[in-house]
Symmetry: C2
Subunit: 421 residues, 2 copies
C-alpha cells in the first residue's frame, strides 16, 4: 500500500467526505483526519439546538460511513500545523503525517468581527456541542424565569436575541418562536412562555441575502406572524451578561436579555493560515480555479475554507458547494497523478432553501420560487431524502431490531467538552 501516492484529507465534513468518496477507485491511499469522530449533517444542526432532533439523528461516525472503502484510514486528531515545505501535517497528538497530496476541507468557525469577548455571551452554531450548549441556554432561561419572582427579571429571562439574518438566524428565530408559543405552552405554572420576546437583528437592509426579493419578504412576513420582532439595518454594538446594545439609524438602544445567539459571521478555520498563502478578509484561501492553492499543485482546498468567485459572484458557504468542491479536488488529484492538466471547478447550483417554522419555508430552485407550505414540503422532502440517504435512522424499537440483525450501533458520537479522557 505504501507504493501508491498518499492523499491526506483534513476535515470530515461535506467537502472532505465527498473528496474521500471520489477517490474510492483511485490508485491512492487516503487518510481522512478530523477532530471529531463524526460527520455532521449541518443543515439540520439548528434542530438539535432547538430540541427537535437528537445529536445522534444528524451525526454518524466517519469511520462507520467509510468502513467499506478499504483505501481510507480515518484518524481522530487535532492539527497543530502544516509543514508545507516538508509535505507533512503536525498533530497535537501522535507523530506527524506525511502526504503526497493534501486536501484541506476544515470549514469555518464563528467570527465576532474583532469582538471575541462577545463569544461566551453570544454562542454560535457550528458543532454538536454548540447546539447542545444553545439548547441548554434556551431551556434554562425558561426554567430560571419559572423560579424567579421579579417581573423585570422574568422579562429579561424570556427575551431571546438572535444576531444575523441569514438562513441560520432565520431558522433559529422561527424555531424559538415555536418553542415559546407552542411547545412549552402548557408546561409552566408561574410564567407564560408564549409571552417570550424573540428579536432577530440584521445589519443589512433585508434578511436572507442570497434569496430573491419576494422570498426575502415572504420569510420576514412569516417570522412576524410567528411573533418574531425583525430589526433590519441594525448593528450590534455590545453584548454583556445582562443584554445587548444595538444601533439603528444612528440611535443606540439597550435590550435586557438573558439569551443571545450569534448567527452573524463566519471565519475560515485557522488551518488556512498554516498554508502560508494570501487569505481573504474572512481568512479563506484564494484558491486557483482548479481549487489548488497558489504555488502548490499538491494542495487543494474545498468548502468554507476556500474563497472562489464564479461569474463575478463569490460562491456561498453551503453544503452543495463544499460537496462539489471536495469531489472536484479529488478528481484533480487523480489528474495530477496521471500527469494530466488540472481542470477548473464549476459550481452547479441546485437551489437554495431556508425554513422558518412549521409549514413555512422559502425555496429558490431554478424556475421555482416558492414560499409557505409548498416550500416547506419541498424542504422536508429534500432533507428527509438527504438524511435518510446519509443515515437510515429509525426508532428505538427498529434501532434494536437493526442492531440485533447487523451487530451495529449507530449513535457512536464523541460529544462534550471534557478533556479528562
Amino acid at each position: 500500500m505504501n507504493d501508491v501516492p498518499h492523499v491526506l484529507i483534513l476535515g470530515g465534513g461535506f467537502g472532505g467526505l465527498d473528496a474521500a468518496r471520489a477517490l474510492a477507485d483511485a490508485p491512492v491511499r487516503i487518510t481522512l483526519l478530523d477532530r471529531h469522530n463524526y460527520h455532521l449533517f449541518q443543515p439540520l444542526l439548528y434542530q438539535v439546538a432547538t430540541a427537535s432532533l437528537s445529536p445522534g439523528d444528524i451525526a454518524s461516525p466517519i469511520r462507520w460511513v467509510l468502513r467499506r472503502q478499504k483505501n481510507v484510514t480515518v484518524l481522530l486528531a487535532n492539527v497543530r500545523d502544516v509543514d508545507v515545505a516538508g509535505r507533512r501535517v503536525l498533530l497535537e497528538e501522535g507523530p506527524a503525517v506525511s502526504y503526497d497530496f493534501l486536501i484541506v476541507a476544515t470549514g469555518a468557525a464563528h467570527s465576532y468581527f474583532g469582538h471575541g469577548e462577545w463569544e461566551p455571551r453570544a454562542p454560535g452554531l457550528k458543532t454538536l456541542d454548540d447546539a447542545l450548549d444553545i439548547r441548554r441556554r434556551v431551556l434554562m432561561a425558561f426554567e430560571a424565569a419559572e423560579r424567579d419572582a421579579s417581573a423585570d427579571e422574568q422579562r429579561r429571562l424570556l427575551t431571546f436575541v438572535i444576531i444575523g439574518g441569514g438562513p441560520t438566524g432565520v431558522e433559529l428565530a422561527g424555531a424559538l418562536a415555536e418553542i415559546a408559543r407552542q411547545s412549552l405552552r402548557k408546561d409552566f405554572r408561574n410564567i407564560r412562555p408564549e409571552s417570550a420576546r424573540i428579536m432577530l437583528l440584521e445589519g443589512a437592509p433585508h434578511l436572507l441575502n442570497a434569496f430573491p426579493e419576494p422570498l426575502r419578504e415572504a420569510a420576514r412576513a412569516s417570522l412576524v406572524r410567528l411573533g418574531v420582532e425583525v430589526r433590519i439595518n441594525t448593528v450590534v454594538t455590545g453584548v454583556d451578561a445582562l443584554g445587548v446594545t444595538f444601533k439603528s439609524q444612528g440611535v443606540e438602544e439597550r435590550l435586557p436579555a438573558q439569551t443571545v445567539l450569534w448567527a452573524a459571521g463566519v471565519e475560515a478555520s485557522p488551518i488556512a493560515k498554516a498554508l502560508g498563502v494570501p487569505l481573504d478578509r474572512a481568512g479563506r484561501v484564494h484558491a486557483e480555479p482548479t481549487l489548488a492553492v497558489p504555488g502548490h499543485r499538491e494542495i487543494f482546498v474545498a468548502g468554507d475554507i476556500c474563497a472562489l468567485r464564479q461569474d463575478g459572484v463569490p460562491l456561498p458557504g453551503v453544503a452543495q458547494v463544499a460537496k462539489q468542491e471536495g469531489a472536484h479536488a479529488a478528481r484533480n488529484v487523480v489528474r495530477a497523478i496521471r500527469g494530466e492538466p488540472l481542470e477548473p471547478f464549476r459550481y452547479r447550483d441546485y437551489g437554495n432553501m431556508a425554513t422558518i417554522g412549521r409549514g413555512s419555508a422559502v425555496a429558490d430552485i431554478g424556475p421555482i420560487k416558492a414560499s409557505g407550505l409548498l416550500a416547506w414540503l419541498i424542504w422536508v422532502f429534500i432533507h428527509i431524502f438527504w438524511l435518510i440517504g446519509f443515515r437510515n435512522r429509525v426508532a428505538v424499537i427498529s434501532e434494536w431490531a437493526w442492531s440485533y440483525l447487523t451487530f451495529q450501533r449507530r449513535v457512536r458520537l464523541i460529544t462534550g467538552s471534557s478533556k479528562s479522557a
Copy 2:
C-alpha cells in the same frame, strides 16, 4: 390554591414521579423539584453509555410528563439544605420553599468506599452526563489505539476494566464486548478492535447477588462466551492513570488499562444528612415501616435514599421499589391530611432481570427462572413496553410528523457540564 396543604417532592426519578402522580386527585398543591429538567429511564442508561441509544430516547422533561396534572409545579433547582424545624427547603438558586409535607426521593450516587480519588479515573453510571462521559472514554480509547504505534500502549488502550458484578457491571461488560467484537469490527485499519480485553471484577464469590444460583452461573457463562474475563473474589486496591491493581486470594496483580468503569457501590444522596436522623452505612434513612422519617410525621422517603427491610431482607435499589414507595408515601400523606393512621409499606416483587448482550439475559420472575434467548425476549418486551408507555418515541420522520400535528418537541433535555448559562 394556597389554602390546601403544600406537598414538596424532592427528586423526579421513579419515586418522586410516582409520588406526584399518586397525588393527582388529592386536595393538595404539589411542587416537584429536581436538579435536572428530565426524568431518566435509568434501567436503559447503560445503553446510552454504550452508544445504542440517544439520551433523548430514555429521558423526558419532567414538566412535559406532568403537564396535564394541574396541581403540580415543577422546579429546576439544587437543594442546599433542609430546614426541618422551619419546614422549608433552602435552594442554591432563589428563595426557600416551604412545605407542609415533604417526600424525599433524591436517589443515590456512586460510592468509592473511602477512595474518592478513584472517581475521575473510574467514573460511575448514574446520570445522562455520566453515560455520555463513559461513551466518550470508551470510543476515545479505540481512537487513540488506532493512532498509536506501540504495541504495549495499544494493548493498554484496548483494555477495559469494569469494577462491580451487579446488573450494571454485567450489562456494561456485555455491551463493551459486543462493541469490540461486533460493532467496530470493520471500522479500523491499524488495530483489531475484537482483540480488546474486557475484564469484570467482583469482590463477592459470584455475580448478580440478587439472583438465584443457576441464573448467576448462566450470566457468567454468557459473559465468558462474549469474551469477558470474569474475576470473582477480587478486590480492587488501586486505580490510577495507567491502570488498576487488584487482589485475589492474597495475591496482588497489576493490569495496565486506559478505561476503568465503576459499578461497585452506591451511597444515598447527601440530602439524607440534612434530615438530621440516623443513617445506615450507605447514608440511607432508616425509615419507619410507613416510610415516614422517625420523629417526623410530615417527612417521607422513597427509593434509593430509603433503607427498609422486608421479611428480614433489605429492599433492593431498583425502579420497582422506588415507584411503589413513592406512591405509598403519597397515599400516607393523604391519610395524614385526613387524620387517618398511616399504613406500613409492603413491596410486591414482580421480578428481577439483567441483560448480558444480544439474545442473552437472565430473568427471575416468580416461578419463571429463565436465561438466554427467552429471558432476553422477556427483557426486550418489558423494556419496550415500559419505555413506550413512558415516552412514545419514534424515528426522525415520525418525530417530525408528530411535531407537526401536536406542536410538541420531545428532546428537551438539559445535559452537559457547562455552568456558563
